[in-house]
């Protein structure tokens, strides 16, 4: 095991090359609905238990199912009203279980990227062929269901191996949402090819906000506004990225969706916000920013050594 993941160099948030977003926007804003399938009885993984209670954990299982049955539609309609397309972090088996949800997203121009096969199949302990198999399955499954080639990855239940990033780059994926070291995209060190980290968030994530931070629906709305205010202010100097990761089994409750939608409208009603998808951010970054950032990283590495 390594002391440092070795995926990026230290890169202080000062004197970086300026990131310029389309139209001179200050913030690239994207919303990541996690559309997940949690199995009632997945095979055991010695590194992680799927459910807090013994089989069958009907409370936890049915709580997750609520997101797909009920909450998803409230979340989707709130996003529609604010003109936000989702960049979906998808348990790709959902293409088989609930293709109706996938079609609704495709009709809206939503992006789909992979969050593994199920959120109850963990990458911990996978050998290389197994990890290749879930990437290949993800590419194939999402392509068949949506016509899209996945550009991004958020590891299933945030479970990784040491080779995850190398494999993502090898398969041509553009970005990973698994790293939380920055509010701007950044090239990631991979064995071959290119990969960038896409700012996601474990703080503005509704799971963390409601569950860990115990935020009320209105307090969560306030957190979202404050997160935006800072990134918008700093974005006047160099483009920033703000992501709201969502789970319909939480944000989609009748007592939560209203305050969330108000916060979403607060962001989208600002001038200078690029309301976009993760893929579009990544493509713009590779075309317009990557080389300047890479040169800056090389320069800094040279001065250090």
């Amino acid at each position: 095991m390594k002391r440092d993941p070795g995926l990026y160099d230290y890169w202080p948030y000062r004197d970086r090359p300026r990131l310029r977003w389309p139209g001179g926007a200050r913030v690239a804003f994207w919303v990541a609905p996690n559309i997940e399938y949690y199995e009632l009885d997945p095979p055991p993984n010695p590194h992680r238990q799927p459910w807090p209670r013994p089989y069958p954990d009907v409370l936890s299982y049915s709580h997750r199912d609520y997101g797909n049955r009920v909450g998803h539609y409230r979340m989707m309609e709130a996003m529609d009203r604010c003109g936000v397309r989702g960049s979906v972090s998808l348990s790709v088996a959902l293409c088989q279980h609930h293709p109706e949800l996938i079609r609704d997203g495709v009709e809206r121009g939503w992006e789909f990227f992979s969050h593994g096969i199920y959120n109850t199949r963990y990458s911990y302990g996978m050998d290389e062929s197994q990890e290749r198999a879930i990437i290949e399955d993800s590419i194939r499954t999402v392509r068949e269901a949506t016509g899209q080639t996945i550009a991004g990855w958020l590891a299933p239940a945030l479970t990784h191996t040491e080779r995850t990033m190398d494999l993502l780059a090898e398969y041509g994926l553009l970005y990973t949402c698994d790293l939380f070291q920055d509010d701007q995209p950044q090239p990631i060190k991979v064995a071959k090819g290119r990969l960038i980290s896409m700012p996601y968030s474990l703080e503005i994530n509704d799971v963390i906000a409601y569950g860990t931070a115990c935020a009320t629906p209105r307090a969560y709305g306030d957190m979202i506004r404050r997160q935006f205010d800072t990134l918008y202010e700093e974005g006047a100097e160099s483009g920033t990225v703000m992501c709201i990761p969502l789970h319909a089994y939480l944000v989609g409750h009748p007592h939560r969706i209203g305050p969330f939608e108000e916060a979403l409208r607060y962001i989208t009603s600002h001038e200078g916000v690029w309301v976009t998808t993760a893929r579009e951010i990544a493509e713009h970054y590779y075309t317009n920013c990557y080389e300047a950032v890479e040169a800056d990283l090389q320069r800094r590495a040279g001065t250090v050594s």
């Binding site: 399938y37 199995e39 009632l40 009885d41 095979p43 993984n45 010695p46 590194h47 209670r53 013994p54 089989y55 069958p56 009907v58 409370l59 049915s62 709580h63 199912d65 609520y66 049955r69 009920v70 539609y73 088996a93 088989q96 279980h97 609930h98 293709p99 109706e100 949800l101 096969i117 199920y118 199949r121 302990g125 996978m126 050998d127 197994q130 198999a133 879930i134 399955d137 409601y210 115990c214 009320t216 629906p217 209105r218 939480l250 409750h253 009748p254 007592h255 939560r256 969706i257 209203g258 305050p259």
Partner: protein, 314 residues
């Protein structure tokens, strides 16, 4: 540690669910109906009456509300008992003052120990819902079927003897089930159960012994979740209930009938410093036009009486 090759086999990767209990049913695709009495929004008050033994086994896990300290944990035992003695009587009086009825999910140990409470609940026209034997006798996969069946039988027989009501609904202690719980309930004539939190309208739940109606009974809007687990204030709890009500009412206009299920716990919302909030909240709900305070049994009958009651083949 490596994983076996079959870790990436998915035998239940198919349309619908990965189990055979109920079909996939997107909520907003349901036909828009009203309740039979013309109401749009049903409010279901479901109060839990629970007995937490002083000497729990804690197996296979401690139910929320169980003892915490070394034996004898008098502080938690008496705190819970307070609900069954004081808090619930505040709530009964409030419900009577407002003219609303609801359901009381009762451990049979409560009925056996406090027969007057059962009589008082029944006299006010409330429904008794079976809630297992006590909060330390959980239904779980490690129970042999005869042992679990004995728990169900003991619960139902005790509640019948104490209340004279044929119990129609079930809520498992701590919402914990074995793979057989629903079938054991169906085989004994239970008509609905409330353990699953995946929907806001009832749906048919298949078991080898017949079907049950899965009745929505909120987890995220419960007083325990918001006031105890999330530690939100009383005002913040009431705000969330009102927000839920108003959101559901706005959906009723387009999507038809809705249920606001409000689980209440006497040792939580029956405390003096919280009770004023509960009184104001329920007064507010009761003053809203088009709101029908129903028991679980009334919701069951109304659902079954509607033309598309969801008796679709699973």
């Amino acid at each position: 540690m490596t994983l076996p090759a079959d870790y990436l086999e998915y035998p239940r990767r198919r349309h619908g669910m990965d189990q055979d209990w109920y079909p996939w049913r997107p909520h907003f695709a349901q036909p828009a109906r009203t309740w039979p009495n013309g109401a749009r929004l049903a409010v279901w008050l479901c109060t839990s009456l629970e007995f937490f033994p002083l000497n729990p086994t804690g197996k296979p896990f401690k139910a929320p509300g169980s003892m915490v300290t070394a034996y004898p944990d008098l502080r938690h035992y008496t705190t819970r008992d307070y609900g069954n003695r004081v808090g619930v009587y505040r709530m009964l009086r409030l419900f009577a003052d407002l003219g609303v009825r609801g359901s009381f999910a009762m451990n049979s140990a409560v009925a056996a120990r406090y027969p007057q409470l059962v009589a008082d609940v029944c006299r006010d026209g409330h429904e008794i819902v079976a809630h297992g034997v006590d909060m330390d006798q959980l239904h779980h996969g490690g129970l042999e079927e005869p042992a679990e069946a004995a728990l169900v039988d003991e619960c139902l027989a005790t509640l019948l003897a104490a209340s004279g009501q044929r119990v129609r609904g079930w809520l498992s202690p701590a919402r914990s089930e074995s793979p057989r719980t629903a079938a054991l309930l169906a085989a004994r004539g239970i008509e609905y159960f409330c353990d699953f939190v995946n929907d806001e309208l009832p749906y048919e739940f298949s078991t080898p012994a017949g079907t049950l109606l899965a009745m929505p009974h909120s987890h995220e809007l419960s007083d325990r979740q918001i006031l105890v687990d999330y530690r939100h204030s009383e005002a913040e709890y009431a705000q969330q209930v009102v927000d839920q009500l108003e959101r559901l009412q706005s959906e009723c206009a387009h999507n038809g009938r809705r249920i606001l299920s409000l689980p209440l716990t006497p040792y939580i919302v029956g405390l003096p410093y919280r009770f004023g909030m509960l009184r104001e909240l329920l007064r507010d709900l009761a003053s809203r036009p088009g709101v029908w305070f129903a028991t679980g049994g009334e919701l069951l009958d109304a659902w079954r009486a509607s033309p598309d009651s969801g008796r679709e083949a699973a």
